[in-house]
Amino acid sequence: MKTLFVMFRPKYVNTYEPALRLLAERGHSIHFTFSVGRSSTGRKQFDIGPLELLARDFPQQVTWDDDPPTRDPRDGWFGIAYGIRVLGDYVRYLHPRYADAVLLRERVAERVRRFAKARTLWWVLQRVSGAAASDRLLRIARDLERAVPPSARITDYVRTQAPDVVLVTPLVDVASDQAEFVKSANALGIPSAMCVNSWDNLTNKGVIRVDPDAVILWNEAQRDEAVELHGVDAEHVVVTGAQKFDEWFARSPSRDAETFKRAIGVDPAQPYILYVCSSRFIAADEDRFVERWLAAVREKLGPIGVVLRPHPENGRIWRDADVARFGNAVVYPPEGAEVTGEEQRADFFDSLAHSAAVVGINTSAMIEAAIVGRGVYTILAGEFRGTQEGTLHFRHLLHENGGILHVAGTLDEHVAQLAQGLAEGEGDVPAFVESFVRPFGLGTAAAPIVAQAIEDLATQPARGLVRTPRSRMLHALLAPVAAAQRRGAQPDDGVIGLGDRVLGKQLELELRRVRRASGRIVVGPWVGDTAEELLYWIPYVRRLADRLELDRSKLVAVSHGSVAPWYADICGDYVELDEDLRQRAFTGWRAEREQVRVETLERLGVTDSISPAAMRRLFKNFRAGRAPLEIVWEFAEHRLIGDGHAGSGVVLEEELAGQPRGTQLELVRECGLLIARPNGLAALGVAAGVTTVAVADGDWNEADVELMSHVAQRTGGVTFTLLDPEQLAFLRKLV
């Protein structure tokens, strides 16, 4: 049997590794493909560690690629499908059960606002309320999804892979196009399944928009969610238990408590509380809350140890945290760690097993704590209301729903609960663990059940594409729209689409009114990152000012970080953007950015502006790898900032940290070589005409890197190059 497993990213291999290992041991092969590696958004690097472990043990059976196909933008259905998906995901949050889920709803609403520029549509959506209306719209969205034909490109891919089973996880990311794989599998008559990766998947993301042959999930509670919230037929649900937690039932600590405590730096004579941090979405500024929490714990519970375990996706907030001042408290691991390799797993388990109690806001580590028999505590903090009580999955943990959480409304109440729990000592594994994690009994692992479910699936006939009379009718209505889209202005064959060129011309036309303006014209405000400002925004404004023959004395650049010299050849004046405004715009939704723009214009007493939003639209296809470099050369003009570099020696990114951006560029100009990550600082080197080595240690955008290479060569006669840390080390050795 061959399985094609479509995953969002390789991290998900961790979840299914035991089941997949069983399949491989039985001689089955598995091919993985990862959405996050798609080249449409540039070359992304990701940790394939868990996958490599599996592939090392089963080299003949485990294969992968990181460039799965997407629907061809030229097939006409691309935009329609995206619109249907994002709107479908939004309308689920109009149901009264999500009344408190403000953040969840806003997360999808922003995507809707970006897509649905038509105010009428937005006005209508704002007025939809009630369970019946939400359910009706969801049904329409499902029929619309069925009206979209399978993508030829993805169907070809699946056909070429020739799997016996197609698995997809998580499938329900907001507006996710993973549904295309299920649809193509259905069209090819290949059985498919959605694998529910985590406890929140069915309640706080998007909806299951297509009909896989099976939905493989953890427990009866999730079965109810699949049926009630996603319209899945109950007979297509397979309950297996939570295979991702199997390991914790069998594992013992890798070292004794004293050794562990010494190793991480807490007092071995004291018990410790493990604070497990939540994801960025749940608690972005958790460090501020933890500070208050730590103070309360220290005041009431004396010298007890505290171990703060950062969430791996939000580890950076702990980089400069000083928790030592609270005494007997550590952040460990310093910036969090994915629980992937053996060492990390042992670390994670030891930290749970040797703790006296576990505290958190809303994270799956709280379930893991319950598995090892630790008391689990939380505080209903006001700042996290939207991501605690406002999420349905959090409710599984509440006592009234059979959950495990000791919930407190205030810090005082919470600390009192902790004190009582610590005094009472360890308890049994709660019944919740059996019902939620191991529904077939605490002694029954989930992985073999998952493996068996996948094998069984391969022997079942596939249900094929589901089409209803209404979906056929909707297809007939949408087909002409798709045909018009096909003929429309999408980039054709990766060449500059007429759409882009016409857009460029339209922008110029719209800006001709700016030329007629009698007063000053604001260029900006720029609140974004340095790379985009230097590579796209400033060159775009320069070309525009040339083409429209704008009176430069009227142009007022508004940006941040004391960068007046960057605009010196374009604008007659420069205004530093108020930092509060910039923060609001940088971290806020699009509406917030627009508000900041309006406020900036009001403060300056100016009515006309050249807005970065138009520039973003123009270069969007290039930055996504869909349009060629020519679009940039046509609508942007790059020049060195200042007179080029005049120095020697090497400057490292770390040496520039904390300086205003304007100062950073001056410092870069004085060196002969800049070594930085391929982000804004690398763009500074290019703009200053300095040889730049970008050291890639994470995600980077291939289009930006390509542009930096060209601009460095064109304007500064220098070279921009991308190296990895190992290559840089070799070169250092060479000289």
């Binding site: 060449v495 339209q506 060629p628 020519e630 090497v650 002969g672 190059t721 070169l731 060479l734 000289v735």
Partner: protein, 367 residues
């Protein structure tokens, strides 16, 4: 296969097209109406899109015809730059064979320097130009061909190409000429087509390791392969000479260095003079031209790393899973930056890496 036209014509069409029309619209003050109401409704494309689409359609027709026929097919002769052969021509053929179900046993790769190994799994047999021509005759004919085609790229079936096919006794065979590849990708090299459109036509994969027991026996167990030669991106300047010498000296202090220099002059690249007093191995000196690229392949495939001038050899090292460090002298305006994303993918496919190193960076690091 019908030769494709060169990039110059496409460029001319493009420049003559849209801007002129737009100027007319502007003169008539119809810009807003045309931009918003007319153009989005027309099924138009850029002239460069037409050029690319035409090349692709031609290729598709030819590939279908070849797949449907039987009998031998000459794949080549490939006589252009080594780098483009590695990055584009071989992956282009691999994709073509797989996508159209062409029987590899029918394909006869024709190239030079004994590179049959590069076509493993793609072409059933291999014929070498040096089997039918001597070294001097080839070099003279090649230079004449460059003059005939205004450059090294084979946009058309040239006199030399026909001569090679005839002499190899393949006159009656069908021909899949490199012009089909050059015609398709030239718009990309001119930045008018985005990368994904090119990648659609490539199947990038590492090469199988070549074998030459006699040569391998003369190689150390562990070594770094190196070759420095002058070209536009590494011009003949005192600084380049000094840097190459310094790098070779540093490398030799750490372990054996095997030079890829053959002493042959088969293209427009001349080698950098070697530093004195440095122990450098030259197992390829006096190498037979008919196998010179094969021999370099063997040396590269067994090396720990390659260090040298940026060019085809650094791609070749990568194709064998060997990391390469390629030096360029800024501003390196002929660097061919459009090739680097493809080169990066070749390195990734082979599980290795390519470092393009500006000499100024080395100087700065040294200081």
């Amino acid at each position: 296969m019908t030769p494709s036209r060169g990039p110059g014509q496409a460029s001319g069409l493009r420049r003559a097209g849209f801007p002129v029309l737009w100027r007319l619209v502007e003169e008539l003050r119809l810009e807003r109406f045309v931009a918003r109401r007319v153009i989005p409704r027309l099924r138009l494309a850029e002239p460069s899109a037409h050029a690319f689409a035409q090349a692709r359609a031609r290729l598709d027709g030819e590939a279908r015809r070849i797949a449907a026929a039987d009998g031998p097919v000459v794949v080549g002769p490939y006589l252009s730059e080594v780098g483009l052969e590695l990055l584009y021509w071989v992956p282009f053929l691999r994709r073509l064979v797989h996508a159209y179900g062409i029987d590899p046993q029918r394909l006869v790769a024709v190239s030079r320097g004994g590179v049959g190994n590069w076509y493993d799994g793609i072409c059933g047999s291999y014929a070498d130009v040096f089997e039918v021509m001597g070294e001097d005759e080839f070099r003279d004919a090649l230079e004449a061909g460059w003059a005939e085609q205004d450059g090294q790229k084979q946009f058309e079936v040239g006199t030399l190409d026909r001569h090679v096919i005839d002499k190899a006794g393949l006159r009656d065979a069908d021909v899949l000429h490199p012009s089909s590849m050059f015609g398709l990708f030239s718009e990309y090299w001119l930045h008018r087509v985005a990368l994904p459109s090119v990648l659609e036509h490539l199947e990038i994969a590492p090469f199988t390791t070549p074998s030459d027991p006699e040569l391998e026996a003369r190689l150390p167990d562990r070594y770094v392969a190196a070759r420095f030669y002058f070209r536009e991106t590494f011009p003949d300047t005192p600084e380049s000479r000094a840097l190459a010498a310094r790098v070779l000296r540093e490398l030799a202090q750490d372990g054996p260095v095997v030079l890829l220099d053959t002493g042959l002059v088969l293209d427009d690249h001349s080698s950098v003079p070697l530093p004195e007093g440095v122990e450098l191995l030259r197992p390829l000196a006096g190498c037979d031209p008919a196998v010179n690229l094969h021999a370099q392949s063997v040396v590269l495939a067994n090396a720990d790393a390659f260090v040298g001038t940026y060019g085809g050899l650094c791609y070749l090292a990568n194709a064998y899973g060997v990391p390469s460090y390629a030096l360029v002298q800024p501003p390196a305006r002929k660097l061919g930056l459009s090739h680097t994303p493809v080169a990066r993918r070749l390195a990734e496919a082979a599980g290795t890496s390519l470092a393009i190193v500006p000499t100024t960076a080395l100087d700065a690091l040294a200081s």
